[in-house]
Symmetry: none
Subunit: 212 residues, 4 copies
DNA sequence: GATGAATGAGGGTTCATTCAT
DNA sequence: AATGAATGAACCCTCATTCAT
């Protein structure tokens, strides 16, 4: 008999909802199975019917967070792909807003701190989130390169540089609780400066790559 | 009472050595005082003769790590301050090497994950490390701006952008255990690209600031 | 949730039995939860399923002792209320026997020593035991006063005097382990002398109250 | 070499002063040797040069308390031994005041609670305090009996009855923290009533002994 | 003789996990 | 399939005692 025959997906979701709440508030070590069960509205025993243990429940929680918060960052929706500056600004703003949000920070902190203990988890996080965003942006950059609008010989790395520029100042300060919040103005300023420096570095006739 | 109230400094160092090992391996919550005592080669009781509790021991450990790993990054030593590309390459390489080192990563992971619980600690980490590096680089950038070699209207923010560029690709992958190590070649490539893009953005007659 | 939220009443009783043993032997501070669990035949964790902590377990233990040993002292049963000497002898004997019993002494010792730390507990003990006995005896004395058989202008205080007389010699010696046991003859002698002195002091035409 | 050759009585007294403070505040189990050493102004090691351990130090402390507080209760000083009511009132007031004092209560509570563990201690307390007072009062009663002023066939037991009467109401309520303090008026009232009932019971032609 | 750093057993309490119901 | 009482190892911390200085 398979798992899907005897266990209800609704209850599984119910458990994960409780786990999201508790893990986000208290981290991995700080969370107790008893509290998760209570918040989820199930018994402690039921937790173990759906997940082999705390670590597995935590892994499922993180995967859910990735799917929710990171997947939608790079939805190629209304951004005008033909206006480089505007397009980059849209993408960078979405990414930065996610990274300085409480939810994003919490997930990042937990995945980071548990990376030595749950490496496959943090790798999954990387693939589901940053890697997807990089790949998507790199595709757009490659097309800009082909069309001659920008000079991007290594689109993957250029995408990584752009996202790094978007993290200037704010991300580290938020991660380390130096700042308690980031204003939309701060975010806009950082993204604008990132776009400016990035475009300066990718101007069609600008010097590329190594600076030596 | 004399200044040497610290009991025996050697034993204190011995305890901190053990604490370094254990905290680095297991994080704050995951570490037990019993194991720290065992690894340090002292009794559990002795731990409490030197530190008021687990939190204090942890704080002392982190402060020690800051002093060790972060303080020396921006030593203004032999870097040729008159060769912008070379100077930036030196600074960036030092910073990046520190950030992808096992020691640096471990400290970063712990400080990050415990920031909500020990905010004064993570703020101290920020001030002792990143803030000092940013201030120092900003000073150099301001002098370049005055001399006309570079165009840097906001040196502080520019320094933050440069260090962000240096983190492209490698840092996140190391933090998340996607990569197990970073080769000198990779480091050099990232730093060179960071210097190139930064100098392109700071060229004396380049467009500055917002891109809109 | 039903009224039977007390988990299993049998197990609760089992724990309290163990707690009685251990607290009686070692007092509050001297008792360890580990030993109580061992003596009760449950695991340490189970203790905390039934009681929030050591203090709560101790309070429950004392309350149980009060209910057991003090409640039944002044049962208004077969004592002939119309024979003053006989009635007082019956009441006094019951009270004294309880006070010099091992169980009574143990409870008294613990409640006494922990009164500064658990004042509500010792006050509850006073109300459940001595106060009830005093009130009951005072009621009887008031009726004797009205009928003219005795002269008891302050029945409450007179009751307190009677019970104090019953404690002469034996109680303190038992409390302080000077005597290891009290014989029925000793008890009878003390009670008889108490009744004699009390009745002499309450004779209808005897001088009352202050002696000055 | 004997103890008295190498150890200074002053330091011993200094230690006992600290022990008095700490034991009185925290009881036996609640007191730590570290705090006693600190309060006494000596090192922990010195404690063990003067006393074999915590139990011995505690015993010495209690003995000192007995000598101080109980010894002087029955000082046969200015009380007029020829005025029975006045004499008894003086003795009873001294005794009751001592028993409801904070110091007296504290010592009583500790000795009581530790009696099963330190029986020789509580017996010493009984002999040094209550027994001496009883003996002294009994001697006076015997002389009154011989002179015909009172009828006291069993002076020892009569003395015990008198002191018991003096404890009516107040002592138990103070011991159990039902009352936080006792006013001089309350004390006078209790003692006066005790003297009145006692004298009524010892009137030269009153019925003596058993009431059956 | 005095010190106080070091010890390690034991304190109360929490919690992931199991299993009879 | 769901429960939650029971478990016991492990947690952080305290403290009486020892012993090298």
């Amino acid at each position: 008999m398979s798992d899907t025959e005897t266990l209800s997906p609704e209850k599984r979701a119910q458990i994960l909802t409780g786990a999201n709440t508790v893990f986000s508030e208290d981290g991995y070590e700080g969370s107790s199975m008893a509290r998760i069960a209570q918040v989820a509205g199930v018994s402690k025993g039921t937790l173990y019917n759906y997940f082999a243990g705390k670590a597995e429940l935590f892994a499922a929680h993180i995967e859910g967070q990735c799917a929710l918060t990171l997947g939608q960052v790079f939805a190629e929706d209304g951004a005008n792909a033909d206006d480089p500056a505007g397009f980059l600004r849209t993408i960078g703003t979405r990414m930065l807003e996610m990274m300085v949000s409480d939810k994003g920070l919490t997930t990042y902190r937990i995945v980071t701190s548990e990376a030595p203990k749950f490496p496959e988890l943090s790798q999954g996080f990387y693939n589901a989130g940053p890697a997807r965003a990089i790949t998507a942006l790199a595709g757009w950059l490659a097309r800009q390169h082909q069309s001659g609008r920008l000079s991007v010989p290594d689109p993957i790395f250029a995408a990584e540089q752009f996202f790094s520029l978007c993290q200037a100042r704010l991300c580290l300060r938020r991660v380390l609780h130096v700042d308690r919040t980031s204003s939309p103005e701060e975010i806009a300023h950082v993204v604008d400066a990132a776009v400016a420096m990035f475009l300066a570095g990718c101007a069609p006739n600008a010097p590329q790559g190594d600076a030596r």
